[in-house]
């Protein structure tokens, strides 16, 4: 089931998932997923717990492949038209193009500066001028620069929870990825910190294509352009957010949104 979105036909979609079946060992976690995500849009993945939204997110940067038994049975995922499972694709490069922010903030036990510079350093950048510039740009993108510019060499764990999560965002965008994957980035944060990150998402979409997993319907409404609803490993509906929430096409979607599940 392919749902038409407003993709310009001449340009390949940023992310394209085709006929994807994904399994943990014998257990099928995702079945027959087809999804196209356009450039510079924020797409929310919603659905009940265990529906496979995080699994789908982690397929996009191949984070699942480390788990024993996890494998793709069928189908493919393409980023800007390139199959990410092509043997010629380097995992390092893929992950530099597809950044990720996790549910719980996980800054390294290093200084703020070293956290943000980590992605560049492992990519082989060692020029301090380049690094400093990139750190500033990333911290500005995560709206942290003004708060932290005088304490870049403090330990990252001295920051508040919301700041730590924004630091993780800065760390993810420092390598200028095309895609930013966010796995419930606000679930461990208080409302004010959540609000700051939600405000940020709009700005991030100007430079990145964002896919965000969320449990929070209101958040999906507030931050996303498109929404995809998953249920039991299947993609039930994918539509512009306003349309999906106001006028769901599928009975299952409607039931979920109304809470009469």
């Amino acid at each position: 089931m392919v749902i038409a979105t407003d993709i310009e036909p001449q340009e390949p979609p940023m992310i394209e998932v085709r006929d994807l079946d994904f399994a943990y060992g014998a257990k099928l976690a995702l079945e027959d997923i087809n999804l196209k995500v356009a450039r510079h849009r924020v797409t929310a993945l919603i659905g009940p717990s265990g529906c496979g939204k995080s699994t789908l997110l982690r397929c996009i940067n191949r984070m699942n492949q480390r788990l024993p038994g996890a494998h793709i049975r069928r189908g493919s995922i393409r980023i800007e038209g390139h199959d990410i499972h092509d043997p010629r694709v380097s995992l390092t490069l893929l992950r530099q193009r597809v950044g990720m922010v996790f549910q719980k903030s996980n800054p390294f036990p290093k200084s703020i500066h070293d956290n943000v510079a980590f992605g560049l350093r492992i990519a082989g950048v060692s020029d301090p001028v380049v690094l400093d510039e990139a750190v500033e740009r990333a911290l500005r993108a995560a709206a942290l620069w003004d708060e932290l510019k005088d304490r870049l060499h403090q330990h990252a764990h001295s920051l508040s929870g919301g700041q730590q999560q924004r630091l993780c965002i800065a760390r993810a965008v420092a390598t200028r990825p095309a895609v930013l994957l966010m796995d419930e980035p606000c679930s461990a944060l208080d409302p004010i910190a959540t609000l700051k990150i939600e405000e940020l998402l709009g700005q991030l979409a100007q430079e990145h294509t964002v896919v965000i997993v969320t449990h929070n319907m209101q958040q999906a409404v507030r931050v996303s352009h498109d929404t995809a609803f998953l249920h039991l490993g299947r993609l039930v509906e994918h539509a512009p957010t306003a349309q999906l929430f106001d006028n769901p096409q599928q009975a299952l979607t409607e039931a979920y949104l109304r809470g009469t599940f």
Binding site: T92, M100, R171
Partner: protein
């Protein structure tokens, strides 16, 4: 009814709970109480040490032993200096006389060999000679014939080293074959070789006459001084003996008096008191001794002055011109530099001698100093026992450092491999195998050190291609390096397990984050996991250090047990010297000393310090872990 039953059962369960609780609390408190008792016991036995050692040092001073040592200590160097001069002489003589001596020795050796080969025939011949004349006439010719044949065969058979020329060899064989007792031909060649050697030796010695004289001068220089000193030493020892005797008697008397006080039976009491009275002794009068010391002080000072003047003179006139060999030159130069220092040290003792007072009190501070900074651990000495801590501490520390330096990289690398690279199946057997090392009894490791590692090290050190390693070739099979290797092996399981735990404790979230940023496995390991686990690994190293310092059996068997501060002049090569340790000395000596003596108490003091070191190391490890604790994932 129902309520009551419920309440009753509730009460019952409360009692059971309380019992269980106190059972657990009891177990915990038993452990803590035992620990407290151990500490108390250690402290009680060790605390007496300061008093006892102070009394011994007081006796040492009062009886004048200290006075003698003021001179004796610097004087001990004189023998070393004379020895190195003698070595310089003999190594210079060697190339000149070596040949002649070897030739003579070879000839003498051949004679002995021929004698040995013809032993049986010689005995038969001698028996025949001893017979009464009638029988001798019958037996003797045959015996003579046999002996003569044997001699011929033997002297033809012996192998003559090429150091003797062909003609000399032929002559020698001829002369040796005619050695029938009673009709000996003079052994002309041997005599000639002996004369030759004596001539060469005399010539050579004449060439080094200056050095010979210098040695004699140095050896004879302190004769007067030593004479006066040994006179003093005898007096001092006699006084010390008396003082010790008095102290022993006095102690016994106090015991008897105490017993008398506690005795209930008046008869027994009277008997005890009488016995105590009998063992009464007057404290020895040391005024006579002190008068003698005062009397001998000035002559001693005069002798020291004369002696050091002679040494200085000698240093100026060491005959260097005759010496050509570089090694002899070096020895000579070193001695020439050491001689003025020796003279200065001797002179420095003069003001000390003058200031020395027999009745100066021994401060507690100096007793502590004598223990913690004392450089001698000397027991059962006929002169004076010293309980200096430094030789033991230095041995323990160097061995522990060797062990840690070897075990740290090994165990950390093994932990990283096991935790990060190994497949689950590899992990399944690597961990148990490494942890199995702990099951090897340390005494068995000691065997390995003595029989296997020691020989291996010694053989390796004799390889010429390894001679660049400082300290090689090594003199002792049992040394600090050997012990350090085995202790490293013992520390590896502890350190490996703890380091592996530290790596395991690194939150998965860090690893996820790193991989999501595109880091390769190696980058994740070395930039994220290892830095995050560093404090845990530091604690692992410290706990390994604690284990190594406390280990006894291996060091006792393998460290060589020489009680001396190692000689650091050979830089890293110092590790190949033998040493004794804090733990080893307790294990070795505690069984043999009399209970309550200063030596016994000194060993307890060593135990206390050891305890304190272990405690400090453990506390440091705990603090390290707490300080850098990672957030729980």
């Amino acid at each position: 009814m129902l309520t009551r039953r419920v309440r009753g059962s509730w009460r019952g369960s409360a009692l059971t709970q309380r019992l269980i609780r106190s059972g657990f609390a009891g177990s915990a408190s038993v452990t803590i109480i035992v620990l407290a008792l151990i500490m108390l016991f250690l402290l009680r036995e060790g605390a007496g040490f300061l008093g006892t050692y102070r009394r011994e040092l007081e006796t040492y001073r009062r009886c004048g032993l200290e006075f003698c040592d003021l001179v004796d200590r610097p004087l001990a160097q004189q023998e070393d200096l004379a020895g190195s001069l003698r070595r310089a002489l003999s190594s210079s003589l060697e190339p000149l006389i070596g040949q002649a001596r070897a030739r003579r020795d070879e000839a003498l050796r051949l004679k002995r060999e021929v004698d040995q080969l013809t032993q049986t025939q010689r005995e038969v011949f001698e028996q025949a000679q001893a017979l009464p004349a009638a029988q001798a006439a019958a037996a003797l010719p045959e015996a003579t014939k046999a002996l003569s044949a044997a001699l011929k065969a033997a002297s033809a058979a012996v192998v003559i080293a090429p150091i003797l020329s062909a003609k000399q060899a032929t002559d020698l064989r001829l002369q040796l074959s005619t050695q029938i007792p009673g009709k000996e031909q003079p052994l002309a060649l041997i005599n000639q070789l002996q004369q030759e050697f004596l001539r060469v030796d005399k010539e050579a010695k004449a060439r080094f006459e200056g050095l010979q004289e210098a040695i004699e001068t140095l050896e004879e220089a302190p004769e007067d001084l030593r004479e006066t000193l040994s006179e003093l030493k005898e007096l001092a020892l006699a006084a010390k003996e008396q003082a010790t005797l008095h102290h022993t008697l006095e102690e016994g008397r106090q015991k008897l008096l105490n017993a008398a006080q506690n005795a209930r039976d008046p008869k027994e009491k009277a008997a005890l008191l009488k016995e105590a009275e009998a063992s009464h002794s007057e404290p020895p009068d040391e005024s006579a001794l002190q008068a003698q010391i005062a009397e001998l002080r000035e002559p001693l000072v005069l002798h020291i002055g004369a002696y050091s003047a002679k040494v200085d003179q000698l240093a100026l006139h060491l005959p260097e011109a005759e010496i050509q060999l570089p090694e002899a030159m070096e020895l000579l130069q070193k001695t020439a530099q050491a001689l003025p220092r020796h003279a200065a040290a001797m002179r420095a003792s003069v003001p000390e001698l003058r200031q020395w007072k027999a009745d100066a009190p021994v401060h507690l501070r100096s007793v502590l100093g004598a223990f913690f900074f004392g450089t001698q651990w000397l027991t059962n000495s006929s002169w004076q026992d010293f309980f200096g801590f430094l030789p033991l501490l230095s041995g323990s520390l160097i061995i522990a450092l060797i062990a840690i330096a070897m075990a740290t990289p090994l165990s950390v690398a093994a932990a990283i491999y096991c935790n990060q690279f190994a497949s689950p199946r590899e992990r399944e057997w690597i961990k148990p195998v490494i942890e199995f090392i702990q099951a090897i009894p340390s005494v068995v490791l000691g065997f390995i050190g003595i029989s296997l590692l020691g020989d291996l090290l010694k053989d390796l050190s004799q390889l010429p291609m390894l001679s660049w390693i400082p300290g090689f070739p090594i003199a002792e099979r049992l040394n600090m390096f050997n012990a350090g290797c085995l202790l490293a092996l013992m520390a590896i399981p502890t350190m490996f397990s703890l380091a592996e735990d530290a790596l395991n404790n690194v939150p998965q979230a860090y690893i996820d984050a790193s991989e999501a940023l595109g880091a390769t496995q190696l980058q994740t390991i070395f930039r994220v996991i290892v830095p995050a686990a560093l404090s845990g690994m530091g604690a692992a190293v410290l706990l390994g250090l604690g284990r190594v310092i406390g280990e006894t059996m291996v060091v006792l068997l393998v460290a060589g047990n020489r009680i001396a501060i190692p000689d650091f002049s050979d830089s890293v090569g110092v590790v190949f010297q033998p040493a004794h340790t804090l733990t080893g000395i307790i294990a070795q000596e505690l069984g043999e000393v009399s209970r309550g003596s200063a030596h016994w108490q000194a060993l307890f003091m060593v135990g206390i310090v050891l305890f304190a070191i272990s405690l400090a190391v453990n506390a440091m490890a705990r603090a390290m872990v707490r300080r850098f604790e990672l957030p729980k994932s």
